[in-house]
Symmetry: C2
DNA sequence: GCTGAGAATGAAACCGGTTTCATTTGGTGT
DNA sequence: ACACCAAATGAAACCGGTTTCATTCTCAGC
């Protein structure tokens, strides 16, 4: 009955050895390679161990074996639902395979990513790097030290999981064309380059195939606000539908439309991507399912399977996202809801953004754009 | 130009020592206690270290110091925005103070929580347990082994951070009363007991104070679907406003209302809690700000500060959530949108739930209710 | 009955740091 | 100049496991 519940020191392997009348080596083997010992010995050792409440110290084990039994998941923003879902899938899969997971939030910065990779390197057997902001040489530097699997970044020679949303966007454009839309927009984000570029290309190609005019709008950091602020540009462009880089931006667009009294899908159609919050909006978003959780789980598998082989993981694993049609897409309105008549569609319109007061908004201002 | 990028072993302290012409002890001190060394020596050592790409091995450090430099964050559902936000705050704060963070998702189960606590114990200096599903004795068992701080659970003698949303809900009821509402509902979840109970009490008390009739509805697992499925019960109860246990449920309620052609706030007012996705809905939700990120950061601080003292953290830290008024609350409609006239307000209406088919799918449709 | 292979176990080195304790060095007081 | 003390640095033990290598012991085979 100690009044101060100070945390008592855990029993060590030497104590168990002495208590059981064997050597440390034997105790160690009883836990890690019992087949080398007499069943009687194993039983005796494990018995005393249990009696003493001994549990092998994972840290010491990691130091001597070089295997940590941990992996780290580094991502740009935990709060972004895409990454939350990814994380859930990754963590669950790692757990299933006996690994614990470190979480590193890089806050969308390359530098923090670099630091986290360095700090955690010794404690993990490998990394899953989701949508890395880091430049290629640095990623390769880290990959040379520890196995790395990247998600949504196509780096030859490094294990990677790519979510191919291209077909989904192609299908979405076809859907819109079928509904009578003639002018559509893609609202992208420059930062999450690989994914956004891929989607932009798919939209442009499919648009051309269907004879639609396609406007490309750059929203900056993919956020709700960015989406909302894009709506002015959408109106100006005279389009009747928008495909967004992700659901968060799509939801922002819907909010912006609602603010102007426009209804979805009556006056305007919206398509999102990721399908993670799409079912929870109203109207529910038509969205390209990115299978986030599966992507996370696959990345972990790729990483862990690589441990069995001498060479680091290098394969690439492609997941194809399918279009999920919900209520945010409908027949084209009789005429575009634009207040100003459609002009020659500019190739790219940067949506201007409110001079964001908060500190951590990465604010990428465009002085030349209006408002 | 090695073709097989096998992961080269990281440089060790001995290598740096030899390279810099000093002893290991000096290199060690250059990193951990530079004030013991000549500035010139420190510089020399750090210089060589940087040149070699040396980073102190955290595992070895942990073994010899007994301090792991890690904490673990255990929570019921990473994908829930409340916990995402919490996680973000906690992880950032831990990083700031030099700790890395393990992530454990218990998938809302007590058992997994228990297992995770056990497995991680050796590798961390302490735990942050958010909204634990574990029963009190087990929590205390773990707390006796390692420092633990719980969030939203009031356990005497264990460090805890409590988000007091009571005042916010009181203010919300006052707001509704002022807007002319006479009958309101609280939609709660039994699982997140502490928080939900606290909120229910605040609503009941404030309702009584303002002479409102208050109905309590139990939605089961707090999810979007649960919220949507509650709407039937809300209509039946003849209320004109609902306060939900969190924003996710509130958003579900809004979706359910929209499905029935009811507008918010014209026909019905909705209040959420947590204020994490509230600003992104349309109309934006009036919500009680739970300061999730701050709660996470405070929990980490409480835990880490406890390390300095011999006794484990035991203090409790209360955060008060304020009401943020947005667009989902408005004047009471001329008459309740109920299809059936309001009856004597039942004290509790359980939204019935199917005996959950999937393992973790909360799916709670009501077979008895009409479509 | 003796030899040799193989199984069971132990002694000690090792993983990569930290920390105690001893030693060297430099500066001060007289 | 000499003695003395503090500051700077090094040698070696230690953290708690794993693993190599040597040793002991058993039993099959001739």
């Amino acid at each position: 009955m100690t009044n101060a519940p100070s945390h008592r020191p855990a029993p060590t392997i030497r104590l168990v050895a002495r208590e059981a009348g064997v050597s440390q080596a034997t105790v160690s083997r009883a836990f890690s390679q019992p087949e080398l010992l007499t069943p009687a010995t194993v039983e005796k050792v494990l018995g005393t161990a249990r009696r003493l409440g001994y549990v092998p110290n994972q840290v010491a084990r990691a130091l001597s074996t070089g295997r940590a039994g941990n992996i780290a998941l580094i991502l740009p923003d935990v709060a972004n639902p895409f990454f939350s879902a990814l994380m859930r899938g990754a963590q669950a899969q790692a757990y299933k395979r006996g690994y614990a997971t470190f979480l590193g939030d890089s806050d969308e910065t390359a530098h923090l990513e670099d630091v986290l990779l360095g700090k955690l390197a010794a404690q993990v057997d490998g990394f899953v790097l989701a949508s890395p902001r880091l430049d290629e040489p640095l990623i390769r530097k880290h990959a040379a030290r520890k196995p790395v699997v990247v998600i949504n970044r196509d780096l030859e020679g490094i294990g990677r999981v790519l979510v191919d949303t291209g077909p989904g966007f192609t299908a979405a454009v076809a859907l819109l064309a079928g509904l009578g839309h003639r002018a559509i927009a893609y609202v992208g984000a420059p930062r999450s380059s690989w994914s956004s570029q891929q989607r932009a290309r798919a939209v442009a190609a499919a648009g051309a195939a269907h004879g639609l005019s396609v406007v490309q709008i750059d929203a900056g950091r993919p956020s709700h606000e960015a989406g909302r602020d894009c709506v002015a540009a959408l109106m100006e462009a005279g389009v009747t539908a928008a495909l967004a880089v992700d659901d968060v931006v799509a939801q922002g667009i819907m909010a912006g439309l609602a603010e102007r009294g426009l209804s979805v899908p009556g006056d305007f159609s919206v398509v999102g991507c990721d399908d993670i919050i799409a079912a929870t909006t109203y109207p529910p978003l038509t969205s390209v399912n990115a299978r986030c959780a599966i992507a996370g789980a696959n990345a972990v598998d790729l990483l862990l399977n690589g441990f069995a082989t001498p060479a680091p993981p290098t394969a690439s694993h492609v997941i194809t996202g399918e279009l999920v049609i919900r209520g945010s897409t409908g027949p084209a309105p009789a005429q575009a809801p634009a207040r100003t008549p459609a002009r020659a569609p500019a190739q790219t319109i940067r949506a201007s953004r409110r001079p964001s007061a908060k500190a951590r908004a990465p604010a990428e201002p465009d002085p030349s754009s209006r408002k």
